[in-house]
Amino acid sequence: MRGIAKSMARTFAVFLRKPVTRDYPSYHKPLPERDRAFPLLLWDEDIHEPFCTGCHACERACPVECMTVLMKDNPNHKKLEGTSSRRKIIDKFWIDYARCMRCNICVEVCNFDAIAMNNTWEGHETSVYDRQDLVMDLQQLLSQSRTGNINEWVPVLGQTNETVSEAGAEDTEVNN
């Protein structure tokens, strides 16, 4: 009987504690900086074009083949009296959020730091009524970065705390 009394005493002690429930959706827990939702493309504010050049590196590296990439000649290139040093620029880009497994490999292989994982709540609240609406096109992927609604975290593979804190220098341990 003492064991049952001990169980009941413990549940009563828990009864007196403060509840731990976080009342979503009226309260959104602050997400850590590294939180990984779905991928987003980044927008270059200075030149007003995406960082992405359509080089297919992420498309090849994706384990579940969720991306489709098409590149085009950049009309904004310096040789054509533009401001950009990118010869090619992204033309069309689709990511199927239903297939994406959020493994972060596309971020790691990107040569231009053009893609990042969404670490805001918008990235998690992507429910739709039709599965086709989960295939995101270029404008949808760029929208959050264009409005400045993202503070992305793009790590370098193998970065340590010391190398990051040294004035944010790129880590040389991984050769590209």
């Binding site: 003492r2 064991g3 049952i4 169980s7 009941m8 549940t11 828990v14 731990v20 429930t21």
Partner: protein, 378 residues
Amino acid sequence: MSVDLFGMSLNPWADAAIRLQLVVAFMTVVVMGLIYAERKILARFHQRVGPQKTGPRGLLQSVADAVKLVGKEDLRPAAADPWTFELAPYFVFIPIFLGFVIVPWVQGWNVRLLELGILYFVAISSISIVGWVMAGWGSDNRYAIIGALRAAAQGISYELPLVLALLSASMLAGSLQLDKIVEFQSVVPLIVWQPLGFFIFFVAALAELNRTPFDIPVGESEIVGGPFVEYSGIRWSMFFLAEYAGMLIMAFVGSSVFLGGYSWPFGEDFGLPFQMLLAAGKGGLFIFLIFWVRASVPRLRIDQLMGYSWKILLPFSFLQILINGFVLVYGLPHIILLITGVLSLGLLFWVTEGIVKRPLQPRRRRARAIAVQEAEVS
């Protein structure tokens, strides 16, 4: 012959009907509140909050549940036995509400104070077991049959300790009529003289209600709903309401018989509102105890449960009656009851603990750091 009701003189049949209707209506509302209270209180035992969104602080949750259940499709298995399947909810539901007839709410207010109050209560409440078996048989489902037979075995086994515990209390009070028992306790509640009886009554009431730790007929993690697995919508909600109404009636009968009802302490001196407070408070305490046990204790297996009833509770309830008999026949002072009650309750706890066969600690072998081992070798 006519009876007074709120100052009107009525035919006794009409008077009984009106009183019963009032009680049933009131109790239905209270049962819905009880469902809400269970969800909130169990949630606090789990360190979380319960329903919050439906209405202010989730108060309309029971209403939302009722609306949902009413709107559900009324499913009936194709091979279900039509009469038993249809009638089972009524057989479960009606006897419990009939049990509200003898409960003394406050002084002078009740439906009918039968002289055989406790006998009537026990007889009526055992009819609902038939309803469970009908539900299980009529459902044409193996899980339902298993649940129904378990419920029948359990219900029958725990009737005896329940009856004997109530009888031993009424032996002291000298009457089976519930309001006389309540008035007997105006100075000292019967739990003081009958601690063993109260414990046996509480455990047997939990078993009769099919609540944890005796909810194996409705074992949610195994046979998922037991006899009621094929019911949906309003029919299922009748079973659900019947369970909570049963809890309510056990709580009120228990608090009337053992905790002093509306009468202890100083109930008769301070009038009606205070008596209502006492009755509600004690019923609420009993129900809180039932919830607390549900949140803390696993369920017993059917054979362990029946063994506990027949081999442990029944002999102890006979013991309680024997002790009462000795005290009453030889005119011993009631303090003997308290002493022997506490001692036999201790004996019952000790016997219950005997279920534990061996001590807890398993063996531990040290995983020594290899560096340490090499240091020792060298």
